[in-house]
Amino acid sequence: MTADVDAAPASSAAAQTTIGPARPMTSQGRRWLRLRSTLAVLVTQLVVLAGFLAFWEFMTGQNKAAAFMFGSPSAIFKFLSQMVYDGSLWRDTSVTGLETLLGFFVGNCIGTLIGLSLWYSRFVSRVVEPFVIALGSIPIIALAPIIIIWFGTGLISKVAMSTLSVVIVALVTSYKGATGVDPDQINLLRTLGASKFQIFRKLVVPASLADIFAGLKLTVGFALIGAIVGEFMSSSEGLGHAIFKAGSLYIIPKVFAALVATIALALLLTFAVGKIEQLLMPWRRQQR
């Protein structure tokens, strides 16, 4: 009993010294914590990737048939460095990149312009709606043979494929943005004496930017799919061409090597869109 009584104050004092009073955190400390959690995520991602590649390498190293069917990271790397060496990697990537970029740009310009301007007339947008849905439901690959007949086998046909994959999505997302504007905000501008065009320019367009950029990020992938499908159908260069050729010759690691380049291209374009978004919408950055 007496030991207990003696021990009680001692233990509470010990607890106080170990826990201590809550210290206010410095901004430097907070920045370090944030950096540390970002680093933790990055390291985990690298470990997962390395583990996956190691497993792949190990499994295909044991078995020749598996190596043939699935390739191996080392073989893929060998092909990649060979493609860098003979210049085909850069040539194919730049060809596909140009097709994708042009299709992305043209498709988004046309789609966004139509989508935003549909805000102007409820009547026109109701007339157009079923046609948009119908066009949007066409699998773009089904159009490829016609596109090649119309535009030939060169750059233009791939850009057309890419544009078509993008345009409906861009139209729908920008229209959604335009019609989602707060009606009270429209009323406010009306009471300030704004014309319909002023409401469009000063309110509807900037308010739609968030949705437009969501569409842009989505359509990077679609533009790339369009370009590669176009190259599958008929082409003499480009990443789609490289994949198709290597695939029909059963050179699986080379297929993967071209795929790696495709993924890198998609990541680069997505990153660029994100940067442009930050540049065009600075008020979103201040929020954080």
Binding site: N187, L188, R190, L192, G193, A194, Q198, L209, W283, Q286
Partner: protein
Amino acid sequence: MIETSLKTQTGTGVAAPAPPLVVEHVAKSYELDGGGIVPVIGDLSLTLREGEIVSIVGPSGCGKTTLLNTLCGLLAPDAGRIRWHGREVAGQPQNVGYMLQKDLLLPWRTALGNTMLGLEIRGMPWAQAEDRCRAMLDQLGLHGFADHYPTTLSGGMRQRVALARTLVNEPDVLLLDEPFAALDFQSKLLIENDTVGLVRQGRRSLLLITHDIEEAVSLADRVIVLSKRPTQIKAVYDIALGADRHDVISVRQAPGFSDHVRSIWADLDVVLQ
């Protein structure tokens, strides 16, 4: 403040000019999707004189906002006439400022950019508009915040920017729909005080729709109490508290203030469940 307001008063004309706003027997109903018709405003007449502050209070859902939107020309009345300075106007009336509980600031514009919206729409040269807006923001205690985006401002400051955006257009008449309802008590008193000061100083007229009886009594020269739907005028109180009407905080201590509040509360006929 009183001296300056007296000096800035423009000489009232010889013949009494038409009051800024006259509402005569206005009625408005809504059609439901099912086909039924809900009469919102039954029969409403009121007059807003020059330099007068009128508050409208009413039970929840009595169509106060419908009334405001009808006055602004955003909705067309089913019956009756609305005359601005003696004339009926098609569409939006000129020189009317409109402000809601939501600040409706555009997030992509800074405080200054939001304040400039009205002048920009009217096509005022940029530099002139900017000078006027900066001065207005300073007057409302937002000095140094002109280049901040709305997301970085507090609720009270955002509502001040909205007030600046309304006042910088120098409207003859302000229509405010519960503009301070979302603010905490202190910010509310301060912004009320500034609003009343600027309105009285500029000899503007103010129609304030609110559910806050104390706010209605402390700000207004006249309080109009509305009935339940279909809305009619139930009672009108002239608030003559004799105090300095520029100071909404001292008015709350004036003798007679709580009597007004109590009788309006009784008029609203709130049933406690």
